[in-house]
Amino acid sequence: MSGYLIRRFFLMLVTLAGISIVIFVMLRLVPGNITDIIFDSAGFVNPKQKQRIERELGLDQPIVTQYARWIGGLARGDLGYAYVSEKPAIREIAPRIPVTATLAGLALVFSTLFGVTLGVVSAVRQDTALDYALRIVSLSGLSLPSFWLGLLILMACVQWFGWIPIYRSTPESFWKELGLLAIPAAAVGFRSSALVMRLTRSSMLEVLRQDYVRTARAKGASERSVNYRHALANALLPVVTVVGIEAAFLIGGLIVTETVFNIPGVARFLVEAIRWRDYPIVQNLVMFIALVVVLVNFAVDMLYVALDPRIKFGN
């Protein structure tokens, strides 16, 4: 096991190094650079002043030097300066991470709770009216674009309650923040829960037809015990994989929800930074998201072991 962990750790480092090179090079291949964009709001581009800014920002240096400077800084915990706001990048990024993390966490809790529960109910009550109703709900969850669902929620709230559930100034407490993020999290979690529900249902149906479930029933185990102890525990493996993928997606993929509900999170900020070619912000945020994805994958692998004792790592 420890050998596996060490190998896994080095693999993570190699993956992150690869990502760092890809993002660094790709950003510089995209047409337009920060100096063009800085000038855009002035309505013209002055080549002389543009050169001066490039020098100021170190963009006149060879690309290898720029890369080495970034990675060196990263190793020391220095994320550099944001080009647009002219503030340390860490001060721009750090406050946004908890916001997105809370939103993603809530959405994940929502999708897992509803998805798994309703998936099990749907499988156990296969081909009943309840099963059909739940399948229709899950289908609508998969087919409704989240920006549209978000706007519908906003319009309904304004129309019926004269109130709009968008992010206001930073909430005073964690609980207030939870309250503020609950509606957007439900909007995101709805799609995600539909996916989890369908997967749980099909996985449960497959497991419920297995010999050992029949054996459990023959031994006189209660229906509850058969469904939850014997079937669900084994049906959860593919669900864990999907939840893991969703968790990784949610950290960087909440752009639409963050825009519609005006949440100052990582995803919206990343898109904005890409638009501005604010290299230090984009590079560091992409690295952060990559790190989250790698760690979530690692956590999912560990969960496999916990859920299925037959799976062993190492030799």
Binding site: D40, G43, V158, T259
Partner: protein, 533 residues
């Protein structure tokens, strides 16, 4: 009878007394936070370095100008310029020296005194004479006639000009022309600006919010009325309009409510006050004269003849926007042509079918026809207000054998591409901060302006621009301006398709707010605004 007469007379007297008594109904209330939404992420806090309302609207309240367009009057003109940091001003007999007597006892937000050195330093930065140069200087051309700024003691500054320029003062009155502190670097001014204005800058959270609080030491005693101003950035238009309807905000971003959207706002928030006004922002056609075949003036003329401005205005703004030449048309515009004069310009005649027949003849003469169309990319920014007229233009150009393809350019690299001339035909938007020919013509059409996007250069037009700039007689000046308009229309120099109109809305509790009708850039001090809660 006498008693009844006496009672009636008494009642009449009382009624008359009440009717003619001074109206005390609306005494200004102090306190409260003004909440406004912002439509996008502003590039920086430095007004002098940007050319966008996104920066001026929130940050104008931090500063003072030397003079200002009267915030209480809807239309900006020379006669509505009032003193601000300058108590008074005077011209010398040669009309080349403008002297400002400055207010004493004014302090910057950091407690340092405001002096004439600050005025000198601001304009030295604007003219590139200060070592701490602005990173960007989009309005340098405004000050090209300024030789130097001299100071006489701490409270007098004189602007020495190369030649007389009667409307020089109007540029000082724009929201784009605050006085900056000499002791604060240009870099700091981009991130945490310091001014002498009614509100102090507190915080700018990128993509999130902006906060300003009352300046308790403001030199205008008793002002401002508000305790604070809070801006929230909401990039999604549907969300921010819904938020305004839900009473989350006291005021919308200026001209953010388009004519089609206005119906939604007024039906769902019937108490909201909404005013439709011209923004002095034009949709204009830019043609790269260096890109063949558009180097041929005949093709450019044919394109001008193909444009049906009225149908564009009908579709895009339900007929509310204005057909115009370069200057904003009356009644709001001070210098624009009235419709009967405008119609005489090439391409502005009312008979579109006849114009297009003439355009087709020109195109046929150049070898184009139904079997051989001219294929061209129509470039524009990826923003609806740019894209929509571009789509309509493509449709209109089809009528004269020009087959346009929409090329949507990432909004952040639009100006870079245009400056590098990487376009043939484009649809652009241009805002004019001051309703004065000097500002508009020098900035957009003179040979040496950096913001002359198509680098249109006609020495004769340049001479006329200089001539109107020096003409003290307003009527004579107007005639020259109209002559310039005619030549620009003939040369197809950035033809104006229309001047847009849009609405700004506010809740009825917002008092003392006056929307300017011939510029969106000059009235965001908010010092006279108060909340009737």
């Amino acid at each position: 009878m006498n008693q009844r007469f006496g009672l009636a007379a008494g009642a009449a007297a009382l009624a008359a007394a009440l009717a003619f008594a001074p109206c005390p109904a609306l005494a200004q209330k102090s306190g409260g936070t003004l909440r406004i939404y912002h439509r996008d992420n502003l590039p920086s806090a430095s007004i002098h370095e940007e050319a966008t309302i996104s920066t001026v609207m929130p940050f104008m309240a931090v500063f003072n100008n030397l003079v200002l367009y009267d915030p209480a009057k809807k239309l900006n003109s020379d006669s509505t310029i009032i003193p601000d940091l300058a108590e008074s001003w005077s011209w010398d007999p040669t009309r080349t020296k403008l002297t400002f007597k400055l207010r004493q006892g004014v302090k910057w937000h950091d407690g340092k005194p405001f002096t004439a050195k600050d005025v000198q330093c601001t304009w030295n930065r604007l003219t590139g004479k200060d070592p701490d140069e602005f990173r960007k200087n989009p309005r340098q051309v405004w000050w090209q006639n300024l030789k130097e700024v001299s100071v006489n003691g701490d409270y007098e500054a004189t602007f020495n000009l190369n030649r007389p320029q009667p409307s020089f003062l109007s540029m000082f009155a724009s929201g784009y022309t605050p006085v900056y502190p000499c002791h604060v670097s240009t870099k700091e001014m981009r991130t945490s600006p310091i001014g002498t204005g009614p509100f102090k800058f507190v915080e700018f959270r990128r993509g999130e919010s902006l906060k300003f609080v009352r300046n308790p030491d403001y030199w205008k005693k008793g002002l401002p009325y508000l305790d604070a101003i809070e801006w929230r950035v909401i990039e999604n238009r549907s969300t921010r309009i819904l938020a305004f309807i839900a009473d989350e905000f006291d005021l919308t971003f200026v001209a953010d409510v388009s004519i089609p959207l206005l119906k939604d706002v007024t039906s769902q928030a019937p108490k909201a006050v909404c005013e439709i006004a011209p923004q002095y922002v034009s949709s204009n056609l830019i043609i790269n004269p260096g890109a063949a075949p558009f180097n041929d003036p005949k093709i450019r003329r044919a394109m001008a003849l193909a444009i049906d401005r009225k149908s564009m205005i009908d579709i895009l703004s339900q007929g509310k926007s204005d057909q115009s030449g370069v200057m904003l048309p009356p009644p709001e515009g001070n210098w624009g042509m009235p419709p009967d004069v405008l119609r005489k310009l090439p391409g502005y005649g009312g008979d579109v079918a006849k114009n297009r027949a003439e355009a087709r003849k020109i195109m046929e003469g150049l070898g184009y026809g139904p079997g051989k169309t001219l294929k061209v990319k129509i470039s524009t920014r990826n923003i609806p207000i740019y894209r929509d007229p571009a789509v309509l233009l493509i449709d209109q150009l089809k009528q004269i054998y020009i087959e346009g393809e929409l090329e949507v350019i990432d909004t952040s690299i639009w100006h870079a591409k245009v400056t590098r001339k990487e376009f043939s035909v484009g649809m652009n938007l241009t805002g004019v901060p001051v309703d004065d020919p000097d500002v508009n013509l020098y900035e957009n059409y003179s040979c040496n302006s950096e913001r002359n996007l198509t680098q249109y250069c006609n020495k004769e037009v340049d001479k006329l621009i200089d001539q109107q700039s020096q003409e003290p007689d307003r009527d004579k000046r107007k005639k020259i301006v109209w002559e310039i308009e005619r030549r620009l229309a003939e040369d197809l120099a950035r033809p104006i398709i229309y001047y847009d109109r849009a609405a700004t809305c506010w809740q009825p509790r917002l008092k003392g707010f006056v929307l300017h009708h011939n510029s969106i850039y000059n009235n965001w001090r908010f010092e006279n605004v108060w909340l009737d809660r």
